[in-house]
């Protein structure tokens, strides 16, 4: 062992990780994304949706809230009586469907992403805590989770919404408050699995700090399951938003959301199907693109997959 002299350097950046300098992480990420067919498709679709949403004001769209009582229930342009001015038709108050879908995406996508991010953060933190600490704390936290799961979600949300009031921010909080429990359960189960693996034991034998144990060893290895759940969850959350908006909480006119539009068209489904179908298609496309992207992301983050 004469050849190995342990170096006790004097520099102070003791924690600087020994990461090999990667040429460019972003470029590598984008190139890998482009190479995957489903990842590319999902990313492009989502990009299209986001661009349309953010740039809605720049697009030559009709005013989404302006009513044209003479042009009620106008069908899409490719049907009889369709007009080019209203490519996807109009709703029961003569408002342009295309403009409403694009403007509605703002609140729907916003609610979906924000509520999932918020509930994921709360849920993962609590789940990891419960899984790592165990004992009475685990018992108490998981009983709280069970209790929340036992209360009908819609009822719970209505009660919270009653206190919190209507609007975008209260809506996100209300959804997150009921939604975090699924992340808690999954994060806890994954932590229980991962913390028994030998590489965690090896790190503990080396007395690796618990913050490092968590960030380096546990979180990256529980991430795949969470990514999958989160991507599926975004769709559910957008639908929850629509239910709440429909019941009079959450987003209220004149603000637009896909949920509202779905609810509006419900009565005319037999006669004017486009009123609820197109917001539904928009919702499906959004969720689909996020799922494709999430699927790809999970594989990308796993070094075992080429």
């Amino acid at each position: 062992m004469s050849g190995v002299v342990l170096n006790t350097g004097t520099a102070l950046q003791a924690d600087a990780p020994a990461v090999a300098a990667q040429p460019s992480r972003l470029r590598h990420f984008l190139r890998a994304l482009w190479r995957s067919r489903s990842g590319r498709f999902g990313a492009l679709l989502l990009l299209l949706i986001l661009l349309a949403t953010l740039g809605a004001d720049l697009l030559p769209l009709a005013d989404p809230v302006k009513r044209h009582l003479s042009l009620r229930y106008l069908p899409p342009v490719w049907l009889d009586k369709g007009q080019w001015a209203y490519p996807l038709g109009t709703d029961g108050q003569g408002r342009d469907m295309l403009a409403r879908i694009i403007y509605g995406a703002r609140s729907s996508v916003m609610v979906g992403l924000a509520a999932v991010a918020l509930s994921g953060a709360i849920g993962v933190a609590i789940g990891v805590l419960a899984g790592l600490r165990g004992g009475w704390l685990d018992q108490v936290l998981m009983r709280v989770v069970d209790a929340i799961l036992a209360i009908p979600a819609m009822l719970f949300m209505l009660v919270v919404a009653l206190v919190a009031g209507a609007g975008l921010a209260p809506l996100i909080v209300v959804i997150a408050l009921t939604n975090w429990v699924i992340y808690t359960r999954i994060a806890r189960a994954e932590v229980l699995r991962v913390k028994e693996l030998e590489f965690v034991a090896a790190a503990r034998v080396s007395r690796v700090r618990s913050s490092r144990l968590l960030l380096r060893h546990i979180l990256p290895n529980i991430l795949p399951a969470l990514v999958v759940v989160a991507t599926l969850n975004i769709g559910t959350v957008i639908l929850t938003e629509s239910s709440l908006s429909f019941l009079g909480f959450g987003i209220q006119p004149p603000d637009i959301s896909w949920g509202q539009m779905l609810a509006d068209g419900r009565q005319q489904l037999a006669t004017s199907w486009w009123i609820s179908t197109f917001p539904g298609v928009a919702l499906t496309a959004t969720v689909f693109s996020i799922i494709l992207l999430g699927d790809w992301l999970r594989d990308y983050l796993d070094p075992r997959l080429p």
């Binding site: 062992m1 350097g9 004097t10 924690d15 020994a18 030998e198 034998v205 080396s206 080429p306």
Partner: protein
């Protein structure tokens, strides 16, 4: 090698004499068989197995020997029609029980499995369905393969279990797999495989997951069953001592090709291929001299008065595991370690020996600080390890059994190795990287491995990485919990040699745990024998192996299989031909 000379060679084996009085028919014949895999991403097709000639007679045990990646399991799966979907089987001739395997439809394969060929897998727990009773799983085969009535099925299942030497077979039918021990599960697996009255039994590493004592029983059962039921056995294994004990004919495979085929005695006595010779030389063994009973008289007195100070001292260490019972507040206490005391001198290696459940691993975890003792005291260089400050300063590191699970799949090798160091102040990233390269060199890996991920390395390379990680903080005591049992024979030898060298170079002290007594013998200075959490015997290596005093130690040693076909305990064989003894000296 063609079938004709091998038959002639085997003619003096008694099993063949028996065979000739019965139906001397061939159960399985492969000529020039191969398996080609078409990669899913559309790359070049891989010829994983090629040019395999194989012949199994009734009542004959044919062993397929090779290391991981040799294609032995793929060959066996091709007999069952269980190759992966993107694999293609080809052969000039492939006959199972007179049926051409090359042109079977799905339904024909289904009829064939279980009825013509039965299979026993390595891991008896995962190959039994946990939610069905033993009875359900045996009777299922009897129903589908032999269309017996309910009453017949039950009687037959009881009979099968009794033939497998299982106690109270009638009650056993109602038991679930988790209620049985590993050896019992493997007997049940054998009963299921035999339930369809197959002509060929394929056993894929059937005893690798079992303790030595249980392994001997299961092997004996398998050999006896094959002889009584007139079944041919295709045995897949990497363990040459198992081959020596039970096989009649041996095929050695390497990288998808058959390098040698010979009757067992000829193979061990006069190995032709260089690879076979290498395998035989690397197989761990305990010199016969050590195991002579005469050692009892002539052995020098154990060097009790060793001057070296103890680096690790255990004093009456106990450990309980509690299982809280539903609806009871009284917990069920299971005693994993009972008053364990021993001491380890600096610079020596202590081998911990015992069957599974004897508490070896619990002890390793307690020494490494992964678990707390419930009683007794551990002293490291005289200081009490229960004191957190002492524990934090104690330079104890651990190497684990499974090199696949003990490396974080999301970190690069360089980061992994120096992680313990990064916890200490005063290291820059560049210094850590340089140190990682030095550590890799120490364990015989190139610096190019630094930026790899664990999955890009082989099992042996991973275990080297684990050792490098443990050594990064210059430990004084290294705890190795079954460090070689997941590895191939030749890799085992390499890792053991590496540990020996490092121990000498770095003046390491070691606690070495293994259920393979041969590897314990190869590396240990002292031995502690554990039985059900209790130390039954302790002393210098040669004393324990040469003159065991406790009955349990003797039973462990007796369960070891001799790597000499002439001394098979399961098969009567004529004396070894000249030359066999010569080969054994190696």
């Amino acid at each position: 090698m063609t079938a004709a000379p091998s038959l002639a060679d085997a003619a003096n084996a008694p099993s063949l004499a028996v065979l000739q009085t019965r139906r001397a028919d061939t159960v399985l014949r492969y000529r020039n068989a191969g398996v080609t895999l078409q990669p899913l991403d559309g790359g070049e097709p891989l010829r994983l197995v090629r040019g395999v000639d194989l012949e199994v007679q009734r009542s004959q045990v044919v062993a397929l020997v090779g290391e991981s990646g040799s294609g032995k399991t793929l060959t066996a799966l091709s007999v069952l029609g269980l190759l992966p979907g993107n694999a293609r089987f080809s052969a000039d001739e492939a006959l199972l029980n007179g049926r051409d395997l090359r042109q079977l439809g799905k339904a024909e394969w289904r009829r064939l499995r279980g009825a013509d060929v039965g299979m026993v897998f390595q891991e008896p727990l995962s190959s039994l369905n946990p939610v069905l009773t033993i009875g359900d799983q045996i009777e299922e085969v009897l129903y589908y393969k032999r269309q017996l009535t309910r009453r017949q099925r039950r009687a037959e299942a009881i009979d099968l279990l009794a033939r497998m030497g299982l106690p109270r077979p009638a009650q056993l039918l109602q038991d679930y797999p988790f209620q049985l021990s590993g050896g019992m599960r493997q007997r049940v697996m054998l009963a299921i495989a035999m339930a369809g009255e197959p002509a060929l039994l394929i056993a894929d590493e059937p005893t690798t997951a079992l303790d030595n004592t249980v392994q001997a029983q299961v092997l004996e059962l398998m050999v006896r069953t094959a002889e009584q039921s007139d079944v041919g056995v295709l045995l897949i294994t990497h363990d040459l001592s198992v081959v020596a004990q039970v096989a009649d004919q041996v095929h050695v495979m390497r990288l998808g090709e058959m390098v040698e085929s010979a009757p067992v005695q000829q193979l061990f006595a006069r190995p032709q291929a260089a690879y076979t010779r290498q395998l035989l030389a690397l197989a761990p063994r305990i010199p016969a001299v050590v195991r002579q009973p005469l050692a009892e008289a002539g052995l020098p007195a154990p060097q009790a008065a060793q001057q070296a100070p103890a680096i690790l001292q255990l004093d009456a260490v106990s450990k309980y595991y509690q299982q809280p019972r539903a609806w009871h507040f009284k917990a069920h206490k299971h005693l994993a370690l009972d008053q364990v005391s021993f001491s380890l001198q600096r610079g020596r290696t202590l081998g911990l020996v015992g069957e599974s459940g004897s508490g070896k691993s619990s002890l390793a975890r307690i020494i490494a600080g992964l678990a707390q003792a419930d009683g007794g005291q551990l002293r490291f260089e005289g200081a009490d390890l229960s004191d957190p400050a002492v524990r934090a300063g104690a330079s104890i590191q651990m190497v684990f059994q499974d090199p696949y699970a003990s490396l974080n799949p999301r970190m690069r090798i360089g980061q992994l190795i120096t992680e313990p160091l990064a916890e200490q102040p005063g290291w820059t990233a560049a210094q850590l990287r340089a140190q990682a390269a030095r550590l890799l060199e120490m364990v015989g890996l190139p610096a190019s491995a630094l930026d790899r991920f664990a999955h890009e390395l082989s099992g042996g390379q991973r275990q080297r990485v684990c050792i490098a990680r443990a050594l990064s903080v210059k430990p004084q005591l290294l705890v190795c919990d079954e460090p070689v049992s997941a590895l191939d024979v030749s890799v085992q030898a390499e890792i053991l040699a590496l540990l020996q060298r490092l121990k000498k170079d770095l003046q390491l002290s070691m606690v070495f745990i293994a259920h393979g007594l041969e590897s314990v013998y190869a590396i240990s200075d002292d031995i502690v024998v554990l039985e059900k959490g209790r130390v039954v015997e302790a002393g210098p290596r040669d004393q324990i192996f040469g003159a065991p005093r406790h009955a349990y130690t003797r039973s462990l040693l007796d369960a070891m299989l001799d790597i000499d076909p002439a001394r098979s305990r399961f098969k009567a064989r004529p004396a070894a031909p000249a030359g066999a003894a010569l080969a054994r000296v190696a």
